[in-house]
Symmetry: D2
Subunit: 303 residues, 4 copies
Amino acid sequence: MSSRATLLADKPPAARGIARDHASLIVHGADRPGIVAAVTAVLSGHGANIVSLDQYSDNPEGGAFFQRTVFSVPDLTLRLPEIEESLSERVAGGFGLDFALRDLSVPKRVAIFASKSDHCLLDLLWRQKHGELAVTIPMVISNHPDVAEEVRSFGVPFFYVPSAGPDKSAAEAEHLRLLAGNVDFVVLARYMQILSAEFIERAGVPIINIHHSFLPAFIGAGPYAKAKERGVKLVGATAHYVTEDLDEGPIIEQDVVRVSHGDTAADLQRRGADVERAVLSRAVRWHSEDRVIRHGKHTIVFA
Amino acid sequence: MSSRATLLADKPPAARGIARDHASLIVHGADRPGIVAAVTAVLSGHGANIVSLDQYSDNPEGGAFFQRTVFSVPDLTLRLPEIEESLSERVAGGFGLDFALRDLSVPKRVAIFASKSDHCLLDLLWRQKHGELAVTIPMVISNHPDVAEEVRSFGVPFFYVPSAGPDKSAAEAEHLRLLAGNVDFVVLARYMQILSAEFIERAGVPIINIHHSFLPAFIGAGPYAKAKERGVKLVGATAHYVTEDLDEGPIIEQDVVRVSHGDTAADLQRRGADVERAVLSRAVRWHSEDRVIRHGKHTIVFA
Amino acid sequence: MSSRATLLADKPPAARGIARDHASLIVHGADRPGIVAAVTAVLSGHGANIVSLDQYSDNPEGGAFFQRTVFSVPDLTLRLPEIEESLSERVAGGFGLDFALRDLSVPKRVAIFASKSDHCLLDLLWRQKHGELAVTIPMVISNHPDVAEEVRSFGVPFFYVPSAGPDKSAAEAEHLRLLAGNVDFVVLARYMQILSAEFIERAGVPIINIHHSFLPAFIGAGPYAKAKERGVKLVGATAHYVTEDLDEGPIIEQDVVRVSHGDTAADLQRRGADVERAVLSRAVRWHSEDRVIRHGKHTIVFA
Amino acid sequence: MSSRATLLADKPPAARGIARDHASLIVHGADRPGIVAAVTAVLSGHGANIVSLDQYSDNPEGGAFFQRTVFSVPDLTLRLPEIEESLSERVAGGFGLDFALRDLSVPKRVAIFASKSDHCLLDLLWRQKHGELAVTIPMVISNHPDVAEEVRSFGVPFFYVPSAGPDKSAAEAEHLRLLAGNVDFVVLARYMQILSAEFIERAGVPIINIHHSFLPAFIGAGPYAKAKERGVKLVGATAHYVTEDLDEGPIIEQDVVRVSHGDTAADLQRRGADVERAVLSRAVRWHSEDRVIRHGKHTIVFA
């Protein structure tokens, strides 16, 4: 089992659906006429071919501008520094915009935090193994040992960090030691612990959570019980970036499923679990492909 | 135009999809073994043929029992009194259950309240005209004259009852005069006024409202603006019975539609309007066919 | 009624959601590096601000390239000729690409063909009246007089062109006389007649049809009866461009709705009708906003 | 790993969501007045409490009648023979109906056939392990060894039966030896082999297949390539009972997902795979809970 996983990881990126010599470029900042032309002129000037381009302005008059471009260029690794330099000069300097350039053949590294339930975790591990998610998973961290064997069967390291009791500082310190320098983002795959503001800041990478309701309905704990109590006809799930404000972070993706009076709270939980894993997998895929741009309390998603 | 509508209304019920000699029977109360057998034995004893039967118990051990049965029997009108008497004796008397028996060939009468926007109103009028809703519409009441001509083009009476200013008592008194004895239920088709508790009680008939969000998210006014502000990826609508507690009444039906960062608040409103009319039409159809049973803060919907 | 419609039509485009001084530009042809940069440089050179840009290549290596750009520029009407000239030189000449430039404040003109059923027709008329479709409707043509009054109540001219019997040439000749020079596209809103290849060619404008199944399932007549016979759990609808090959034209949009064993063929038809009108309205909106590009047997839809 | 699975299987049925002392009763045949009353009277006479009752008649006048009843009775195992005898007399004898009675605490035994792809297989194994499917899985059979380790990690026996070459008779003989007496139904979880009519007959149990298109569109091999070729905007999957007529068996469940011009055939396959596993899991759950009744080329699904 682990041997298969290892072999798969050894395949060159192209074999796993990640195109060689492709890069993503995110540009955002204050909108002005001429940005798209300037960006594409830089890329064209370096012999790059634009593979896809998505652009959005939240207000043509003085709003914010967002652009995601995927381009290919031969010998990308060699050319990236000079492309970056041109963008710094013409796009950052000329227009005062922020930009981020990334070699798409280098998958992002994600740490997954889980607790006892494994539906979201397994879905992510399975999709990664089958090449549906362009990420590597250097670690799964859990406050329970239940999923250890399952995680390791995918060839993924599992770390057990107990987190009982009200003081989470020791657990969070251990988390930070494990994460430091090893990951590009974190996914909370039904990790049933609240992260401290200090942890979020010190982690220094984006953290994606899956909440088991269609936020902002049923904020907080026990959403399925609340949904049953209120008698709703839909239950859902929300993937969002984690911020200091619990359940208030920018929403990446949401979906719902129809339920009826005949469904018990346990049925809602079972049906909701299918939505949770689907929503979280989409959010992780989009984030890993630089399709999500955070902007204040919102996200721009070029899906 | 009105002549067409009149001709349609003159058609016998069977021509409009309402089966002759069919009745619905709703039974509910405390669950006990033997209820279904007792009810079906009564119907069978009167020569009735069960066309459909839906049954639900929210807890087999001492919970609440709900049953909807549609049956046919020759000469229904003549037989209903004796069937009712048997049910009173065997079902109400024997089991202590409530029941309601209704000749399905007699459509329910609904008053529609509207304001300026006509999407929900027009959908109901159109479906009623085409025989998709087994109701008659003796009146549309509005606090604005805008939709008068449209309503009358369907051959439906329109009453303009202004409702400006904080004191709604005169308007509500006029509403009660118009409704008294003339309707079996009321539909608020984006009627942008809050009804007083006194009105709800004195109206004495079920009132169905369409709320433009997937409740309980975005309770109160301006849900689309709130949805835009929160950055949700779905907007929706909720049809519910009106109670004293604003936006808290039992939910009949809900649905959502996917939106994106590129949609403005106006786009959300436009896309939501399609969901609103679909959700409200389903709720009205189900209510008119006795498919919805209220139970505390919930509904049982045998759709 | 007609007075209201007239007043609405008199409103300036901006009031109806059509932005003043905005144009759409479609570019397509063989893919090569540098197209996006060249196009945006032309626009930028004329002082245009790019409002949105969608781009797609069906194969980065020698495939076909498609780009839809919406831009704004002050005094668009005056500037269009010189922008067109630059595009001819740099984009058509330099890259051998086709392009189409259109002032978005000039709505497309659509003729709607209908028969007896009015659900699709009414939905289009209503959305146009409420500013949801950026089109004008100079005429509705039908082979039955049933919907005349309804159409005229929207202030839209209605023409009755009987089409009984096997020889449609007289009817089609009349259609061509009515359409000539007056419309930019045609919509068949459940028009239950097959158009001849000659008519399609001589009409010389795109024709959009709504087929009442999720093509390619249930090609031909009577799809709901076939769906009932086959026992499917979903019924749907397909909007497509009309070609000589019946039900084989490029698909613009499709959707489905869940049905069950309990639904009769008439129920399927009723539930399908809701899907038909939704699918057709989306297709018409996208076509009217230049969001659909035909490419062989396919469409590129920048929705 | 296997130890966990074993422990789970050792739990009493009630702990896995299968209610003790509950039975399902399916009744079907020619419709006549009084069936529901007769069936419920038999159950009531034996002290049974009806937990749920679904009933359907495809034509009140001389059509076919279908009823699914779940009831509870103390000491079910002891009482079943006498209840069966009463049903034989009163329902089979009195009305000429077929019936099937089953103790719901005894899970059905299913053999899963798989090939190389594991998305449907894994979903079934995972749901069974988590108590979402009330079945036991005595064996997985595959014509490829790829999924052996994964299957065995769930504590489920795996049998490798090669099936290369045109003559499948040896493989099918081996299949029949493995199945004989050991299973109640078979699931083809993307088993990429066509079963002979003889095998289907000799297996003697229902066989459920997942087809990777929304049948009847794209019958036969390569549906995703055909879908890409046709330019559809939805792809889907269909779970159906296997009959001699390939892809023509009674449909149990279908669903679709939206795709766009930008999706490659590989993307369609990836997105379709999510629908396949969801549709197949629902079909297996419904079949295992006696919610599906076959009737000619159709199914009645009391979901």
